[in-house]
Amino acid sequence: MDKIYKALAEIVGEEFVSNRKEELYIYSRDSGLSEPRFPDYVVMPRTVEEVQKIIQLANKEKIHVVPAGASLSLSGLTIPQKGGIVIDMRRMDRILELNRKGRYVVLEAGVTQGKLQAFLEENAPDLCHSLPEAPPSATVVGNLVIHGQGNLTQAYGFNSSMISGLEVVLPNGEICRIGSCSLSPYWFSIEPLPYLAGLFLGWFGTTGVITKVGLRLYPKKKLRDVELFVLEDPKLVSEVIYRVTHTEMAEDITTVAQPYPLMFQGTIMIGIYLTGDTEEELEFKRRLIWSSLSELIKAKEGGFMALTPDMKVGFLEKPMSSLTRSADILKGGGFVYCGAIIPIEKFPEALKKLFEIAERNGVTFAHTGRVIGRGHCMMFAFAYPFNRADLERMEKAKRALFDSYVATLEIGGVPWKPGAEEQKLILERMDKNSVELIKRIRELLDPNKIMNPGNWEVEL
């Protein structure tokens, strides 16, 4: 029997390792449009010690390792670009601690968004975490390591800035804790120590395997409502966001622009979510938000849309299943998007690029976006549905996607969770000393170059 397989089976048990072609097939691809690349093994550890042993084995055998959550990035970040072992982290799915008064949880890296959501619903209904619009099967840590966003991002920044502690297996197999948990039993804060968390976030598993995370929780109000502010002129989007964020009364702020249904054509909708423990609180916030936009309303430039109760249900669903459903717009099981992190004033430019790219490539498109911080920047998604059974359409969507990455860089934005190819575009444009630093850090942490190769790979 294969030596590595045997060693992996000894670590995790034979049930949880595979080199069978069906598992290799599934783990060779995600739901996006990246080229499939086959792993040699898939393994599912249950403990940090097992992860450690897998990494030690990989070092010994000089075999590549790709840590994976639910593989839902859509940009191929867990596709093993150069083969090796895919570590599916989802058996490590325990929620280890809830500190209610300190508002944080400690959880293992395989816990899904859904599981944490359900756990809090049951054990701390007045607390919530920043939930992304990913399917509930996505993992919490998967979202954090790619600098994901969620419904609390407008108020508190990127979800990765809500981390209060980390446990990581380093590329050399050492287990390392980061933040208060490195010197105390409590996982309440990354700060004020040297900011080591930055070595593992946004690196797509090239610097280690996160096994545990401390995550901040936030007040969850009993009531939640949504208003849609509609504009025609994209230039006014940043003004609206500036005014609404100034009130500090909104929870989430999102943007939508899409050609269908016909009703929406030619308009931009800004979703403003508000929460409150009482009707009074909710109405108070609503009034402040409405009045912050009164000048635009008076000038007839924008207004709040009337939402039917059914529409509201769709918008208030957590997470919104309608976003997943958009994969079936072309009855074809797929969409991809480039999530551009851009300054908000770049919205009109990005939207114009989106229209141009869609037209040039002959593809259907949609835009959704989310405000990050109090208008500090936003995620602007250039999204393209495709039909998995239609190769030509897939090819067109792929081209449109690539163009969107280029466009993002052209307007001064930074692509979020770029795939291996797009990372090269970024590195080409990045300040050379920054690139050099990335390289040196990787060499230092991962001398055997085993960790998710093909990602953030610097070839100077």
Binding site: E23, S31, A70, S71, Q113, G114, P135, A327, D328, G332
Partner: protein, 375 residues
């Protein structure tokens, strides 16, 4: 095969219940490889049909470990959701047609075809334990079903149901050894020819005997008969009838100081939308406290016995769905896990033993009987 398999995005909602508390796809919960999730399975079927992948033992396991519990269809957010189970069944059908099914599955179906039951036991044994008159134009026909006819625990369940019917003064009979398999598993395994043959045999027999109403013990039989083409008889699950008897005052119930949790069988619940009758029965027993498991009704977590797995058991082991479910039942603090399906009953009784747990598995009829007998 007309399938739009490519429409699956593999987003994974199908793995979970509606409140996301835990994985709710039995084969995924057990194996944990993405390939064993509904989406993974659909993508692999597509790859197999496109000849990207060839048949293998592992693929057979992936395909046939789907228990057709319908959680995926219940939770899928796409417009094709109602077709998912049919797609998987079609793939099983194709595998069987091509002679690729694993030996255990093949034997299962052959036994049904030859002997009228999945174990290949003699037909003469079917009703040997049953002390009841053959159907002679009574109001109702009680359909016993293979799981109750041949399996000791099923037999006990059938006896409980019969006893209750007698107490209520119901006019009913059975088909004795002449009973034929209901064909539900043949249907779910994609052996449609066999299903149709069984359906037509049963329909014909019922017609000859003038059967107007069939009461099934197993939800699997209930489900199968609902699908019979040209069905001209009414079919009820025994819990529906029991509730009616209670409501009509035909069963007088005395107090039982018990804490019970109820497990929804997939073929009664998700496949046929019957959630309230069994609960109403339990709640009608004075003193009985009904507590719910986290995953209940539409979100019920399957025992792992569907689609023939109660015989060929591809999902067995320490993390089998039945054992996971027993742990969930224990968490409610209930002393009894109530079931309404002989397959669930057998699966859970085995699981309770493996878990060395004090939890008692009882069918609803047995619990009701205890309450009714004391009068």
């Amino acid at each position: 095969m007309s399938m739009e398999l490519h429409r699956c995005f593999r987003c994974g909602w199908c793995k979970l219940p509606s409140d996301f508390v835990d994985y709710n796809c039995p084969s995924y919960a057990k194996f944990r490889f993405e390939s064993f999730s509904p989406g993974g399975r659909l993508w692999l079927i597509r790859a197999w049909l496109n000849r990207e992948l060839t048949w293998s033992e592992n693929f057979a396991k992936i395909l046939f470990s789907c228990v057709a519990c319908k959680n995926c269809a219940e939770q899928c957010k796409m417009r094709f959701k109602d077709e998912i189970v049919d797609w998987i069944t079609s793939a099983k059908s194709l595998a069987i047609e091509k002679g690729l099914a694993p030996p255990k599955v093949r034997d299962f179906l052959e036994n049904i075809a030859k002997h009228g039951n999945p174990w290949g036991l003699p037909r003469a044994q079917r009703a040997s334990w049953l002390d009841l008159n053959k159907f002679e134009g009574e109001e109702d026909l009680l359909y016993i079903g293979c799981e109750c006819a041949y399996e000791e625990r099923g037999q006990k369940m059938a006896k409980n149901v019969i006893e209750l019917f007698k107490i209520a003064g119901l006019s009913f009979g059975t088909l004795g050894n002449e009973e034929e398999c209901d064909g539900n598993e043949a249907y779910m395994l994609g052996e449609l020819g066999l299903f149709q043959e069984l359906a037509s045999k049963n329909t014909q027999k019922f017609k000859e005997l003038g059967v107007k109403k069939v009461i099934t013990i197993s939800p699997h039989a209930f489900n199968a008969m609902k699908k019979y083409p040209n069905r001209d008889f009414e079919v009820l699950h025994f819990t529906q009838l029991l509730l009616e008897l209670i409501q009509k005052g035909k069963l007088k119930l005395s107090e039982l100081d018990l804490t019970v949790t109820y497990h929804d069988p997939c073929f009664l619940g998700r496949h046929n939308g019957i959630y309230s009758e069994p609960r109403k029965i339990l709640k009608s027993i004075p003193g009985l406290k009904l507590v719910e498991m986290k995953r209940n009704k539409e979100n019920s977590f399957c025992c792992g016995g569907g689609s023939g797995n109660f015989v060929f058991d591809l999902l067995g082991g320490s993390e089998s769905p039945a054992r996971l479910r027993v742990r969930e039942a224990l968490n409610t603090g209930a002393e009894i896990l109530a079931v309404a399906c002989p397959i669930c009953k057998a699966m859970f009784e085995d699981a309770v033993k493996d878990e060395a747990s004090d939890l008692e598995v009882k069918d609803i009829a047995e619990i009701l009987l205890r309450s009714a007998e004391r009068i």
